[in-house]
Amino acid sequence: MIAGPPRLAELVVAWSLRAEERAAVLGDLQEEFSTLLAADGRSAARRWYWTQAIRSFLPNVTRRHAASRRSAAMFSTDTIAQDLVFGWRMLRRRPLVTTIAVLSLVSGLSMAAVVFNLLNAIVLRPLPVENPDRLMVLLARRGANLNHNFSYPDFQDYRARQQTFVDLTAYSRADVTVRLDAGSEVLPAEFVAGSYFTTLGVGTRFGRGLTDADVTAGAPLAAVVSDRLWRRIAGDGAAFDGRAVTINDRPFTIVGVAAPGFGGMIVGRDVRVWVPLTHRELLEPGRAITTDRFVSWLTLVGRLKPGVNENRAAADLDRIEAALGPAVQRTEQRTFVLAAGGQGDSMLPSIVASPLRLLLGAALLVLVVACANVASLLVSRTVERGREIAVRTALGASRLRIARMLMVETLLLSGVGAVFGMGVSVWAARLAVRLITQFGEPVAVNIGVDWGLFGFVAAAALATALLSALAPIVHVLRTPAAGGLGVGGRQVSAAPAAARLRSGLVVVQFALSLALVGSAALLVRTIVNLRAVPTGFDLDHVALVAIDPVAAHLGPDQAQQFLHDVESRLAAVPGVRAAAYGRIIPIGFGGSRGSIAVPGYLPAADEDMEINYNAVSPSYFDATGIARADGRIFSDADPLTGPIPAVVNETMARRYWPGGRAVGRLFQFDGADGPPMMVVGVVVNVKYRMIREPDAPSFYLPYRRVGRPRAGIMHVRVEGDPAALLPELRRVAMSVDPRVPVSDVRTLRDQVWRNLSTERMAMTIAVALGGAALLLAAVGLFGAMSNLVGQRRREIGVRLALGARPSEVARLVVGQGLRLSLLGSLLGLGLAFWLGRLLEARLYGVAAFDPFSLAASVAVLAGVAAVATWAPAGRAARTNPVDALRAE
């Protein structure tokens, strides 16, 4: 065997070398070792090898270290620290530029963060329950629709027989009247099953959650209150003592205080009281809802067992229903669909999700406009710093190193922007959330900084920094290295390229602004159109007063008397023309529906015979301004037996009795055995739930013939402005019976306004975004034109010296600015059209491509561009030719 070089020495050498060098150096050593071995013998060769290993060690290690430093120089921490310090100094040296850049970023980032905050709080964040992704909402398919509610007996049967859920629970939203020291208050509540707290995994701060024992008949009255309500009742820091609270006039023992932050299962609704669902009677005395299998009023939620998916759980429920349905004589076929239950069965997320996502996209476009400002400022700064950069390049700094320096500066800027932007966004989102209402009520959601928001803002800031650094870096890399080192530091070579780049950025800004302003214009027109939609009501003269005789435990006769008294007392208020009771609040999203059967009318196979109706007092039509089209209105003089006199709307009259008079015809509730209804009159159509709804059949019945009196609305029609009378109306309504809560007093105009809340929210945010984009673009244009005027000072001086008038010079500058804005606008038209298409479903009475909106937007942009170029143009016009030429 051939003797090799000493193993240890070889290892030492190998270790001291870079990997790429090893083959060459170790090969050399071995080659020479072999030569020496043959010539001088083994020990001489070994000695030589060791000497080489030891004497080469230091040079090798030094070389390796130097090489690794060279390759790591781009990312080593000490140079980044240097860049940070240097970047900070540069930013501080130009406070105006820095301020504009930071303000641009703050506005861009905070806009995006506001919208994200809303999206996060309402749509993305699950309710504070345990393992929200294992919760499922139970829905039943009924034809093409889904039934969201179930009866209590059905719930009990499903719960007892199911095998795929840890447990099932049920709840129903309701408002209850709670007696507090300050007086009675109507508060959001939930009627819940005994499995509610355990299934959801919601803990208590004090006491215990409700249990099945609390829900059994005859159990003592028990309630759980929210942490906030507990503090109001007992005061901060009070010991938990199992005291009682009066809910709907009954004394309930507070058995527990829910975990702070938990506000029930409906997003946007801050529940304060949980009551066993067996006390549903508190809301409608005498109606045995809890024992009726055919009254659906509960939302069902289940927690899946580990390893069970929703399909298996649905199949299990279908199996139960296949046996249960026939046993209870259910006529309809019921199959189950399970939906994600992390937000319960809330409507708000599904209502606002799509507008908020669109708005988030728009906000990100605004952010791009802001980035263009930062990029533009940095580009002109690199021109100003051309000499410094040239010196650095000459001293061995690579272009990459300089690019990195710019990157660090934009990161600093966007970091500062992100911190302020996050703060501004929380404040602004709290304002913006007031724009969102649910069923006309303000929503309670938790706006604040959480990891989701933090992550979003951090990611947006990083993307912003990268995007902002792009243009200046491209500019630096393209500029010839020697360009900046001219005599006297005149950087003529880089300036025109920079000006072109800045002009390009301005064009991009105006293009995006046009798209955003154009979209905002579409939404503004939508609101204007929706406001002008005829509702059928006398919108400007009606006030609404919400009353609840049931909460005060008035018996049927007392309640009847109460409604009669309130009506006549309100009608007697000076300035009031008429007052009336109606069960359904106009244009309030909700209502009563009933399936009807019309003798002689054969419905189509899939025709929905369930239509809207309302129970009202005879003066309702006077008090709301609904015009009569035919026949008469029912009156208090009508007998209380025999056919129920009904007033139908025009659509109903036309649909079920085409070609003839509706008056005198009969119809009835499908399957009901009471007396039929007889049409006595026809009134014009009104909007029932929503402004945007198409005309649909509906009818009115005298409330005295439809079950017991319920909570409802007093409609008051006045001579002048109803807003002025609201306090007086509230006072009068409350004076009739102090026990009856008067929860809400507002004008009908206000009610319509609330009905449009999602549209208004979208419009307001879109207008804010469009305005912000426009402002940022104006700042960009102003900067670019100021820069241009500065650069072309000599040329302007020459023109003026040769006899050009200052006004001509000014026109030149303004013309240049307008050209950029118009070019941007033209390019933005395509994007505007595309955004319009995305918005199409939300528009009303205006097309996605609306020439009027776009023309107006282009005009607004041109106007803004003219204003933004005004100052630079003035500066150009005031140029003193002598100074300008001498300065060279």
């Binding site: 090799g4 001291s16 060098e21 090893r22 083959a23 060459a24 150096v25 170790l26 090969g27 050399d28 050593l29 071995q30 080659e31 020479e32 072999s34 080489q52 004497r55 080469s56 060690f57 230091l58 040079p59 090798n60 030094t62 070389r63 090489a67």
Partner: protein, 109 residues
């Protein structure tokens, strides 16, 4: 243009002498043979690295050979800039020597 150190000049000249056969072992032997001064492998490669970074030489790895334990050689070639630097160094030195030949030979004797 940087001036070349003596060791760097020796290396470049050795490469020129060796023509196509310049790699670690031959360069070292060439310098030792001509100057009689020992050269360590570490110093040689450090200098080669520097010369390569300056653009005076270029190098390429050959295929592995058995006598080197299956390792490759790093062949070095001089580039135009290296040749120019050599000429410049020699010219500079020559200008310094100009007119001193006699004095130094005399003082030595």
């Amino acid at each position: 243009m940087d001036s070349l150190g003596e060791f760097e000049q020796s290396i470049l000249l050795a490469i020129v002498h060796l023509r196509a056969d310049a790699y670690g072992v031959t360069i070292r032997r060439e310098i030792e043979a001509r100057t009689g001064r020992p050269v360590t492998v570490g110093a040689l490669y450090t200098a080669l690295d520097r010369l390569e970074r300056k653009g005076y030489v270029s190098s390429a790895m050959s295929g592995p050979t058995a006598e080197r334990g299956g390792r490759s050689k790093r062949y070095v070639k001089i580039r135009a800039a290296g040749a120019a630097a050599l000429r410049e160094s020699r010219a500079r030195l020559a200008r310094m020597w100009d007119g001193l030949e006699d004095d130094l030979t005399r003082s030595r004797s």
